[in-house]
């Protein structure tokens, strides 16, 4: 299997340039990431000295944030993430199947799905806040979950449409002949074929929810903060405490980095290729 680019080989100069580009890119990516990793374990003295690197690792920073609001915020982010993922995958998969198989709603629906992802969040955030206030849900996670769903569900629907379209119709027809109704056929025969797509969708949904700031900021700014909101709070004081902030950053960044490694291979294939073959 030869995945490398077809076509003309590069001149030595071009090849050198190519490698240089990649090396620079890798460096550029690594520096900030490593900085987070190290900063979380450095003493205040080390942190204020740009030249030095971790010589004296400490867990003080970790301990610091364990006492504050960060763990609670992290927990809330997890709760929101799971809720958004589960609901999002369910709604998105059903809708994606409906659109892929039956072209439900035609162009208007397809556009309606795109729409929430295009518009600036401010358009939805304030009314959603008003809505939440109505139901006494201000500063609550439910509002955040709802807001996140408006971004996640369209994305999953779009994403899964491709996967569902590549399941041959005959398999469903065969299931129908064999005696299953349309939903049973969907559940037993179509879904097993798109599990990779569903998995990728779930991961993407969770990541997106975990990272999201704006809606969480507007809808749950106070005691129900999610992790990104809590972290942005490190900004409001004069002398920002770098140590604890770095630890909090590590907490925010680490889980998603791990997940991203899991998902990256699937993404390249899913976006460019044709999806699952039966």
């Amino acid at each position: 299997m030869n995945d490398a680019a077809p076509g003309t080989r590069l001149t030595p100069a071009a090849e050198a340039g190519r490698l240089l580009l990649i090396a620079m890119a890798v460096t550029a990516v690594l520096v900030p990431l490593l900085w987070i990793a190290f900063a979380a374990f450095r003493t205040p003295a080390d942190l204020t000295n740009p030249g030095s690197f971790a010589i004296d690792p400490t867990l003080d920073n970790m301990r610091d944030i364990a006492e504050g609001g960060i763990p609670g915020a992290a927990l809330r982010s997890i709760i929101v993430g799971f809720a958004v993922t589960i609901i999002g995958v369910f709604v998105g998969a059903l809708a994606g199947y409906s659109i892929a198989r039956f072209r439900t709603g035609g162009i208007p629906l397809r556009f309606a799905i795109l729409f929430p992802t295009i518009i600036p969040p401010t358009v939805l955030a304030f009314p959603l806040l008003a809505l939440a206030l109505q139901f006494n849900l201000s500063d609550s996670l439910i509002a955040v979950i709802a807001a996140h769903l408006t971004i996640v569900v369209p994305m999953i629907t779009w994403f899964m449409t491709g996967f569902f379209a590549s399941v041959p119709r005959e398999v469903e027809e065969q299931a129908a002949i064999d005696g299953y109704g349309p939903f049973a056929a969907f559940w037993r025969v179509v879904v097993p074929n798109v599990l990779p797509g569903l998995g990728a969708s779930a991961l993407l949904a969770f990541m997106m929810s975990w990272n999201e700031l704006f809606y969480a900021l507007v809808l749950a700014p106070g005691s129900s903060q999610t992790l990104p909101v809590a972290i942005s709070g490190f900004n409001t004081f004069q002398g920002v405490k770098l140590g604890p902030m770095s630890a909090a950053l590590l907490l925010t960044v680490a889980p998603v980095m791990v997940l991203s490694f899991v998902i990256q291979k699937r993404l390249v294939r899913g976006l460019g290729g044709s999806g699952v073959k039966g």
Partner: protein, 359 residues
Amino acid sequence: MASIRFENVVKHYGAYQAIRNVSFAIPDGEFVVIVGPSGSGKTTMLRAIGGLERVNSGRIFIGDRDVTDLAPKHRDIAFVFQNYALYAHLTVRNNIGFPLKARKMPKDEIMRRVEDVAERTGLKALLDRKPSALSGGQQQRVAIARALVRKPKVFLFDEPLSNLDAQLRLDMRREVLELQQSLGVTSVWVTHDQEEAMAMGDRILVVNHGMVEQNAAPEALYSDPVNAYVARTIGSPTINMLRGKLNGQGLDVEGVRFPLPGGALQGDIMIGVRPEDIHPVKAAADHPNATPPFEAKVQLIELLGARAIMTLLVGNHRLTAVFNRRDLADIREFDTIRVSAAKDRLLYFKPETGERIRL
């Protein structure tokens, strides 16, 4: 077991007519082949029998039941798709048992039937594999086993052999026929391969542009086609069609004379001569009832073992002929030879409509 009947069935997709007012009857227990080129409507007809397509008007009967408005699962039919439509995530065993599970059959009964059918289709050793670990032929058998296990009234096959290589195709053909013979279940088989159709069918429906051109046994289609389309569709290599004017001395095709008799016919006509009915004159003794000989230049010889396909040039008209190896003897390309045609096997057609004229 059941007969199948189409009554004035019409199916269109918007402005496109897929089935134009078709009626036919298939007796119980027969193996019927629907043959035609792509887009002729043959698959649509098959799917209509199965209930995968709804028809716009007309009625469909399986046995005595009017199934026109019934969903596939209520028609008691089994369908084998061109690409097998196996459930990739299930083992062979579960693939075969799937339709039984859907009908909520007790587990031990399912197991018994699956084993039984697997035995019959030679799949016993493969029961715990997944489809991706099977060869094309084996996947084919699984599809057939799944169809068998329900003991349906009708089997429907949609070009199931087109994805197999030539030798495998022949082997599977034989297997399916033997199976059908032993079971006696009414079967409808769709294919674009006329040779396959001729080999397999008790009866063949030749389909063209949504209409059934002829519905008859293979022999009848071969020797007594109802029009030029059927004559061209059946038989390989394709029949030679000569269009010209008949007079007392023979057929005049754009200045070239073919010494073919016409009986009482005169004027514009189309005469069909099958390649296997053209023989070199040396062997005329083997073929009584031959037309007077005429000259032809050998353009191309395609040697196929026991026979050879000859491309002959008469004037500037090409004729295809099939010679025995024996008859070929010392004939070489670019030789000019004398040939004659079997008089009693000629087919006469009206030139504009292609309708057959029986002398």
